[in-house]
């Protein structure tokens, strides 16, 4: 099982590298906000720690982790959307329409 996870890690890192190296500098700040939001996925681990009812300590730690991860998810996706909404093309007629790299 551990070895399989290592495969997943290497391949995912590879995919991540390929995808993200094509993001233009124009959108680097939204990219950071977006990966922040996605890193809120640690909520998955936090939920299990908070809900498994092993003992008080784990539950409390899990609870704090749930709060932290959830605020990242909510705040992260909201702010990414807020930024991306601001990026507009030149709407005026006669503006260059050629696709920018």
């Amino acid at each position: 099982m551990q070895l399989l996870e290592l495969y997943v890690f290497v391949l995912a890192a590879f995919v991540g590298y390929m995808v993200i190296s094509r993001v233009p500098p124009l959108l680097h700040t939204p990219l950071m906000a977006a990966t922040n939001a996605i890193s809120g996925i640690s909520l998955v681990g936090s939920l299990i720690a908070a809900g498994a009812a092993h003992d008080r300590v784990s539950t409390i730690l899990g609870f704090i982790a749930v709060v932290a991860a959830t605020s990242n998810i909510v705040g992260g996706f909201l702010i990414t959307d807020r930024m991306l909404r601001m990026f507009k093309r030149d709407a005026k007629p006669g503006a260059p329409t050629a696709e920018k790299k």
Partner: protein, 462 residues
């Protein structure tokens, strides 16, 4: 059956995350893509909630509600100028979550009488170590960016030795806990030392170098999530953590390149502290040409091509809207206006683009350094607003200059240069800028916003 549902939700989420990040290659598709990614997150959460190991939902519900209450203002109300510290703070939160999950997992295993395996301890150790370093580092970074802490490098004699000792201490404790998983003290001591190390790592780094640091810490926090995935055997954590880690890694490399520095130089160099000694050329005997708003307005009004070079000074003066107004006026008179954005303009990667987009500058007028540099030769006016080091020709010519070799915008190739600047103070790197003494350069002194508003008024009268 339930397990299949959970796996399917994770798989869907992973695919949607990757598609969402891929959509960020196109500004017009990005919003839609990120909404898909958010939907993916929802799938993953629902999938997790039906997990059979979760038996008590009270703490979860409370945590989710509190998280929404904290998260909403962080998303909706934070101003765009405060984006860097906001990102730093959310890195703190994501690293904190990873660290706490690691501690909870370790504590649970020990208290239920299970001795964690070596493999689990490697994963938990890295998770808690990277998590703590990131929490400490990002807190300092956020404090510096918010200017609650001094943005100047904090250095002292023997700093590198202390940091080196801390680092070796962390490694020793890590190895110790992997060999003897039951030594809880070593595990928690490692967490504490790593936290201190994170603080010590960022303290000596100056404000101008923050983009690299924030990107680097982003990659640490991604790796901490990855390690969480290994520790609790959860594949989606590994996938998302790798994406996060890759993004931070790429950005920190790009930023280092843009500043012509190596990673180690940024982390151990404490830039601003030494530059007072390395002055390069001195300003003695040179004089600048000052210009009034009226004359500058005439130059701009009759220009065919104006290239605006915005720096962080523009954002500080809140002059983005005035710039946009000026650009529209010049365009109305038949001129063309382009914005040249240096990779390290602003306080984080891509920050300047967001600030200009917020002021309604269309994104097809924003150009990267590589796209625009050849166009300066035919530009009538290069309008430098609150930028300094990124247009300093010393980076090309003066081998003794600390910024020698840094890629710069070729403002000095334009037919004339107008620099909006508050006074003759040096830039972040603390070095003189030859461009300001060039015979084609005129300086328009004053607050950037006031000057731009003045220019707008004058051009209307031309």
């Amino acid at each position: 059956m339930r397990d299949y549902f959970i796996e399917a939700s994770y798989l869907t989420a992973s695919i949607l995350f990757i598609l969402g990040l891929r959509s960020l290659t196109r500004p017009d598709k990005a919003r839609r893509g990120m909404q898909l990614a958010a939907a993916g997150m929802l799938f993953a959460i629902i999938g997790t909630l039906v997990n059979h190991t979760i038996v008590d939902y009270r703490w979860i519900a409370a945590g989710l509600v509190l998280g929404v209450i904290f998260g909403y203002p962080m998303g909706q109300w934070v101003p765009m100028t405060a984006m860097p510290q906001r990102i730093a703070l959310s890195l703190t939160l994501s690293a904190l979550a990873a660290t706490l999950v690691g501690v909870a997992e370790y504590h649970t295993q020990l208290s239920s009488g299970i001795i964690p395996t070596r493999a689990t301890m490697v994963a938990l150790g890295f998770e808690v170590m990277l998590g703590s370093i990131t929490v400490g580092g990002t807190l300092v970074a956020a404090g510096k960016l918010q200017e609650w802490l001094t943005s100047k490098p904090v250095t002292f004699v023997g700093q590198q030795a202390v940091n080196g000792a801390l680092f070796l201490g962390i490694l020793a404790l890590l190895v110790y806990t992997i060999i003897g998983p039951t030594h809880a003290w070593a595990f928690y001591a490692m967490m504490g030392v790593a936290f201190v190390f994170g603080i010590m790592l960022v303290m000596p780094i100056g404000g101008a170098d923050m983009p690299v640091v924030v990107a680097l810490l982003n990659s640490y926090s991604g790796l901490a999530s990855c390690a969480t995935g290994f520790a609790i055997g959860n594949v989606i954590l590994i996938i998302s953590g790798s994406l996060d880690g890759a993004s931070g890694f790429i950005l920190s490399i790009l930023m280092s390149k843009a500043m012509n520095r190596s990673f180690t130089n940024v982390l151990f160099g404490a830039f601003g502290s030494e530059t007072t000694a390395v002055t390069g050329k001195s300003a003695a005997g040179l004089s600048v040409r000052s210009i009034g708003v009226e004359d500058a307005a005439i130059q701009l009004a009759y220009a065919q091509l104006v290239i605006v070079i915005p720096g962080y000074g523009m954002a500080v003066a809140q002059a983005q809207h005035a710039v946009r107004e000026l650009a529209e006026l010049v365009e109305k008179r038949g001129g063309e206006v382009k914005f040249a954005v240096h990779p390290v303009a602003g306080r984080m990667p891509g920050h300047m683009n967001v600030l200009l987009a917020e002021a309604n500058v269309p994104y097809d007028k924003l150009y990267d350094m590589d796209e625009i540099n050849s166009e300066f030769d035919r530009a009538d006016v290069a309008l430098v607003i609150g930028a300094n080091d990124v247009v300093n020709p010393a980076a090309r010519t003066d081998k003794s200059s600390p910024i020698y070799g840094m890629p710069i915008l070729n403002a000095d190739h334009a037919k004339s240069v107008i620099v909006l600047k508050r006074g003759m103070s040096a830039g972040f790197a603390g070095i003189e800028n030859d461009l300001f003494y060039d015979k084609r350069t005129s300086m328009l002194f004053g607050d950037a916003k006031a000057s731009l508003t003045g220019l707008v008024g004058e051009i209307k009268n031309v």
